[in-house]
């Protein structure tokens, strides 16, 4: 058989249930892949060799005794390092949490373990999930497997890179402004952000509480569905967790797009879009039309202000969420003559420049005399964005955009220009503001061989519809390219 590290979850699930493959073998293949690729792409911060091995053996025992917990059993999955794992170092890619071993598991971690998944390790991210390239990590930049001179995207860059090379069959990332979808697009894999509230945030180190959502990064749309089913559902530990009845997310997945109205958001398909990305997007629109969908051009005027609103709301919330990192109870501590000095020194040393930038921005946006003009105003824009989406979904079933205006940019290309970096999230941010779900599906590559992603957005809780269109896009694109791996067979 082909290398097990190249299997999808669906394929691995079949193989694990036959005599072809054991979970231990699958993990070994994935770990070999990691050994082969890590020097090039640095996707991981921590690999939990012992823990993963024990989980794999437990999965095999479970299979043998007829205890089948579902499609994720025995599947090696990586976790972005902003999800707390009991006893396993969790850093959020920051110096301020260097060596921190959480005393508890995030809910998604518990659910994955209960489903029999094998947690391989923790992946690299932009520090505290703030960034679009992983260059803000305090532990080095991850590299795009398609071209190591380029970024994998961010902030879930490590997770996307790992799935792209097969050093995990799936990974969890977190998406606040596009941090699952954009790196998935840049790395040629599938990345999905659920409806806000579908997946518990308990144990996710908070960046912006009203925007953060955990989502799966996988090789296929069907795999993303399987992971979402494993991690979603009401959690009493998260007061913002959705309490209603959940739709069957996969109920429409194979129905195709015949008769569906697909809306193209004019504001999100033009500005700053690279020609290749634009061309790929239009090609996919034609294919969808050919498959029976009606394409409609729609205008969502408030999306022009969405980026600005986001870069006030997210920093404001993060300025409060990151206040707890003060050296008192956990993490880094630098000494000082007074408590204030100790806190100040600790935070100045522990936080990287982008994090500091956003804390200052957020504090300013909330401060007396400025609240109305900045944070207050941004929240009003947010309401307009929500209203625009509601109106759009009265005219179309789903909305589509390129996931990212560009393909992967070079390492160092945008680090001196934060605003240029922020523009990476232009197409993804509006759905974080609205709380609606979105998914990125790889459809092709540009002339430099860099992947291009197609984004499908749907109304809140319309995941079934979203997966349906995404599957159709995946089938129509027929994208099965893989990044070339470093040739070090001998080292394996």
């Amino acid at each position: 058989m082909s290398d097990p590290a190249d299997l999808t979850i669906a394929e691995a699930a079949t193989a694990l249930r036959s005599d072809d493959l054991t979970a231990v073998e699958l993990l070994a293949a994935v770990r070999r892949r990691a050994t082969m690729t890590e020097a090039n792409i640095h996707a991981y911060l921590t690999i939990d060799a012992e823990g993963a091995e024990a989980s794999a053996r437990a999965a095999d025992d479970a299979f043998a005794s007829g205890d089948d917990r579902g499609p994720l059993q025995g599947i090696p999955i990586a976790l972005k390092d902003n999800m707390v794992t009991r006893g396993l170092e969790t850093t959020a890619s920051s110096q301020i949490l260097a060596g921190w071993h959480p005393p508890y598991d995030a809910t998604v971690v518990t659910r994955l373990r209960d489903a029999g998944a094998v947690i391989v390790g923790k992946t690299n991210l932009d520090e505290f999930a703030m960034g679009s390239s992983t260059e803000n990590s305090a532990y080095g930049t991850s590299r795009n497997p398609w071209d190591p001179e380029r970024v994998p995207g961010g902030s879930s860059g490590g997770s996307a890179a790992a799935v792209a090379v097969g050093s995990a069959l799936a990974a969890l990332g977190s998406d606040t402004g596009g941090s699952v979808r954009q790196p998935a697009s840049l790395c040629g894999v599938v990345g999905m952000k659920p409806t806000y509230g579908l997946v518990s945030r308990y144990g996710l180190i908070a960046f912006a509480s009203s925007l953060d959502q955990i989502g799966p990064i996988t090789r296929t749309v069907a795999d993303a569905l399987a992971v979402l089913q494993g991690i979603s559902g009401h959690d009493p530990e998260d007061a913002t967790s959705y309490r209603g009845e959940l739709p069957d997310f996969g109920s429409q997945i194979d129905r195709g797009v015949e008769g569906l109205k697909i809306g193209v958001v004019s504001e999100l398909s033009a500005e700053g879009t690279e020609p290749a990305v634009g061309a790929e997007f239009r090609t996919m629109l034609e294919r969808l039309e050919g498959a029976g969908a009606e394409i409609k051009e729609l205008s969502l005027p408030s999306t022009a202000y969405a980026l600005s609103a986001y870069y006030l709301i997210a920093p404001a919330e993060c300025s409060a969420n990151l206040a707890r990192f003060d050296g008192v109870r956990f993490g880094l501590r630098l000494d000082g003559e007074t408590v204030e000095e100790m806190m100040g020194a600790t935070r100045a040393a522990g936080f990287g420049p982008e994090v500091i930038r956003r804390i200052l921005l957020g504090t300013y946006a909330l401060s007396a005399g400025y609240y109305d003009a900045f944070y207050g105003q941004a929240q009003k824009v947010r309401t307009l964005v929500i209203d625009d989406f509601k109106q759009a979904y009265e005219q179309a079933d789903v909305l589509v955009t390129p996931t990212s205006p560009t393909t992967a940019f070079k390492v160092g290309e945008r680090t001196d220009d934060p605003l240029a970096m922020y523009l990476s999230d232009l197409c993804t941010i509006p759905s974080n503001l609205s709380g609606d779900p979105g998914i990125s599906v790889p459809t092709g590559v540009d002339d430099a061989g860099l992947p291009i992603g197609f984004q499908v957005l749907a109304p809140a809780l319309a995941e079934p519809l979203m997966f349906r269109v995404a599957k159709a896009v995946e089938d129509l694109a027929g994208f099965d390219a893989r990044p070339a791996l470093a040739s070090s067979e001998g080292a394996a």
Binding site: V84, P103, Y202, E237, A239, T240, A323
Partner: protein
């Protein structure tokens, strides 16, 4: 110049719910430091708050008891400031949409009745507790602080009064009455010495007749009702002196020093007055329906003012009624009356001997081995003549000390009065025989000596003779 005193009081009340405001940790007092904690109340990365429904209900109950309006769409807000005992360096509190607004509390002082307005009652979480190490000595590593997070996250109600209070006495009575209401509702232990009820006062002076408020001084660290009154009295003097001398009052926070009997300006730390409030994104808005409000209102227990009125109607005098209600002795009295005692008589014992005992021992009325039935029994024994009033006091002491019920204690301590006619006659006869001169003088009309002879009989009988009957018998013998 006559100065009008304007006082407002902010009261923080720890709710004694089973668990904390936003997590399942137990609410208690005196546990080993940092043992009643979890990721949520420690503010660990990734932790999230989940609101305590009981705490919200109890806050609304207090609002209703204070005649407030309940806000139908209420929000929690983040109040942002850095401090070592703040796990998240923001406190989840309420800002412009508190649970309860616009009520009042009626108080009675020596100057008469007054209605004190209540601006709002809101709900928030308490902070941890810092213990500062060794003051003084800047050399080396002296100084530092220990922080205990057991208290962090305990539900805290904040009651803000309108600046309607005009005298230190009124302030104390307001605080007392508020405490009585809280005790009647059963939502807090309201123990000032334990910190489950804390007061801050804002006080300013203005020329009599003026409408604008003067410069406000905040006074903190008043750990008893008495210090509340003393601190405000001191502040009035201090501010009057300054203003009379033509000076201006500094707007500041001052701390009351109970030992020194004065307020001191607080350490000048940067007052973070900009809390950058924004609505708490980890919590959904509270929706309170009319039905919920109606249900809570109909479930309200009898409130202190109603209890006092009821006691007075039953024959208890006003001051005793106030002591009973303020001292947590209401159920004891009701029980005693239920077991046959009169309200007035039960009140006498409760406000007298029992209150004295409670003050001496620093005990909690709820923890007493005495119940209303026992008190009624004691009173009945006195009325029946089985116990003299002196003996009864001793019996009560025994009951409070856990020796048993009144009759058991009376018997085991041999305090039951002798009422048997034969025994009394015998005792009287011996004393009469031993004091012929005194008897002769009594016969001539010297009534005072009867007392002396009664005393002799009491001595001879170990204090158990019924003194009234003995006195009668002596007269008859003369």
């Amino acid at each position: 110049m006559t100065w009008e005193v304007v006082i407002g009081i902010e009261t923080h009340v720890e709710l004694r719910t089973h668990s904390k405001m936003f997590c399942g940790c137990p609410v208690g007092f005196g546990a080993e430091p940092n043992t009643a904690v979890c990721p949520v109340c420690l503010g660990l990365p990734g932790a999230l708050p989940v609101p305590n429904e009981k705490a919200i209900e109890w806050t609304m109950r207090l609002g209703l008891a204070l005649d407030c309006d309940i806000t139908e769409h209420s929000l929690f807000h983040r109040k942002n400031y850095f401090y070592a005992d703040m796990p998240k360096n923001y406190q989840i509190s309420q800002f412009d949409l508190p649970l309860c607004v616009g009520g009042h509390l009626d108080v009675t002082t020596s100057a008469g009745d007054r209605r004190i307005g209540i601006t709002r009652v809101h709900l928030e979480e308490d902070t941890g507790k810092s213990t500062h190490l060794g003051e003084g000595g800047r050399i080396g590593s002296s100084g530092g602080a220990l922080v205990d997070f057991n208290r962090a996250g305990i539900p805290l109600m904040e009651v803000v009064s309108e600046p309607d209070i005009r005298t230190p006495e009124e302030a104390r009575v307001y605080a007392q009455e508020l405490r009585s209401v809280i005790l009647a509702l059963g939502v807090s232990d309201a123990r000032l010495e334990e910190g489950s009820m804390r007061f801050d006062a804002n006080i300013s002076l203005r020329p009599e007749g003026a409408t604008e408020l003067g410069v406000k001084v905040e006074v903190k660290n008043m750990n008893s009702l008495r210090s509340l009154q003393r601190a405000l009295t001191f502040e009035i003097e201090r501010q009057t002196k300054i203003l009379d001398g033509g000076g201006t009052i500094a707007q500041e926070t001052r701390h009351w020093d109970e030992e020194a009997g004065r307020t001191e300006a607080g350490r000048s730390k940067e007052e973070a007055s900009d809390y950058r409030y924004f609505s708490e994104p980890d919590l959904v808005p509270l929706e309170v329906t009319e039905d919920i409000i109606a249900g809570l209102r109909s479930d309200l227990p009898e409130l202190p003012a109603q209890t006092r009125t009821r006691f007075e109607a039953a024959g208890v005098d006003a001051i005793a009624a106030r002591v009973l209600v303020g001292g947590g002795l209401v159920s004891l009295l009701d029980e005693a009356v239920g077991s046959g005692a009169t309200a007035a008589e039960a009140a006498k014992w409760l406000t007298g001997e029992v209150t004295a005992y409670l003050n001496r021992e620093g005990s909690d009325p709820a923890a007493l081995p005495l119940d209303g039935g026992a008190l009624a029994e004691l009173i009945a024994m006195v009325e029946a003549g089985d116990l003299s009033s002196t003996a009864a006091k001793q019996v009560l002491e025994g009951v409070l000390g856990g020796e048993g019920g009144p009759r058991d204690v009376a018997e085991s301590r041999d305090l039951i009065q002798i009422r048997d006619e034969g025994a009394l006659a015998e005792a009287v006869a011996s004393v009469v025989a031993a004091h012929p001169e005194e008897m002769a003088r009594i016969a001539e009309g010297d009534g005072k000596l009867i007392g002396f002879l009664v005393g002799q009989v009491m001595q001879a009988t170990g204090g158990k003779a019924d003194p009234r009957r003995v006195s009668e018998l002596i007269r008859e013998s003369s």
